[in-house]
């Protein structure tokens, strides 16, 4: 599914976003990796399999970014093409995979926290948390935004649309 998403972008069936080739690749990667995680959740639905997005590690990643003189995560998120975007560095193409992972995790962590899920472990028999992850990936797909210019996908723009029913656990 990871690869399929890439093909949909290549074929312009999902809009590519980003100002540079590296930024576009990182946005593409964020979505593909989100698809991969979403399918992983679904394939293990009803089990005690878990995926974890540790907030402490996400913070450490952000701290690394903030140390850069060329990239200020706090100046992103305006959504415009103003001076703050021009001032920051772009994603080097060979690093787009890693940056895509970071953008995906930023997006998921932001939305999970917005929904009050402070422990960022998603167990495959917890439909509320699973559906939160699915909803972020869905929003990233249907309404792509340039995550390289933001602190992840804005939680306020994610619509919670359940994929798994609330009573998933009783089936197993």
């Amino acid at each position: 599914m990871y690869e399929y998403q890439h093909l949909l972008v290549d074929a312009k069936m999902i809009a590519a976003v980003g100002d540079t080739r590296g930024d576009r690749a990182a946005n593409d990667e964020a979505r593909s990796q989100c698809w991969s995680d979403a399918v992983f959740l679904a394939l293990n639905a009803g089990t005690k399999t878990s995926m974890e997005w540790r907030i402490s590690r996400a913070r450490a990643a952000v701290s690394l970014l903030q140390q850069s003189t060329r990239y200020d995560v706090n100046s992103g998120g305006t959504g415009g093409a103003g001076a703050s975007r021009d001032a920051r560095a772009r994603v080097p193409y060979p690093e787009a995979y890693a940056w895509g992972r970071f953008f995906e995790v930023e997006s998921l962590v932001g939305y999970l926290r917005a929904r009050g899920l402070s422990k960022l472990t998603v167990v495959d028999n917890r439909p509320d948390a699973m559906n939160a992850v699915m909803s972020v990936c869905r929003a990233m797909t249907r309404h792509p935004l340039d995550l390289a210019a933001r602190n992840g996908y804005p939680a306020s723009q994610v619509r919670f649309v359940p994929f798994f029913p609330a009573n998933i656990s009783k089936h197993n």
Binding site: Y2, L8, L43, T47, A58, L65, F102, V105, M134, H171
Partner: protein, 202 residues
Amino acid sequence: MDQAMRPRPVTGERPSLRMAAGLALASASLAACAGRFRYDVPREVMRAPNAQTWGVGLLHSRPAYSVASTTVLNGGAPLREKPTAVIASGAAASWQWRVVAVPSVVPLWTAWRAARKNRRIRREAERTGNRFHTAVDWDLALERAYRVVQYLYGSELPPMRVTLLLIPDGTEYRTRITETGNGYFPVTLAFYWPPPRGWSRC
């Protein structure tokens, strides 16, 4: 524009299951001029021992889809067989799929499928409409994956014909296959069977 100043993120932001998978990477490949491919991961990572990399790139879409599928599995053991045994095939709506294994993998797959627990899960999944159980077989997995992607994408999914090649864990396998599909995406990728511990690629 100076691109070198942007630091790489630490690896800690990855979900723990992916961390356990080690260098289970996948990358988008793009055809540059003169048929040269570039990957969105550093070359050193792709060359690392035991690294696993998969990539696809749409070379052109007219008059038909031409897709390059790349698999790089840096195992230490030589692969002495070719994947020739079709162990499963089917369709999930607009996706057609088949699984082709090297002969030595077939008994391992057969044993997995015959395990009492997996047979029980399969029966239960079929009874409940294959939505809430571990996907223990290819048809269940592809069907459920199709549902997920349709939920994500929001409309009818473009056709795909995917071939999954199964090779023994720990072997070395590097190939790029270019296929053409008239009205569908052709994709061929290779994976280890049984999957390495902590494997989480979907």
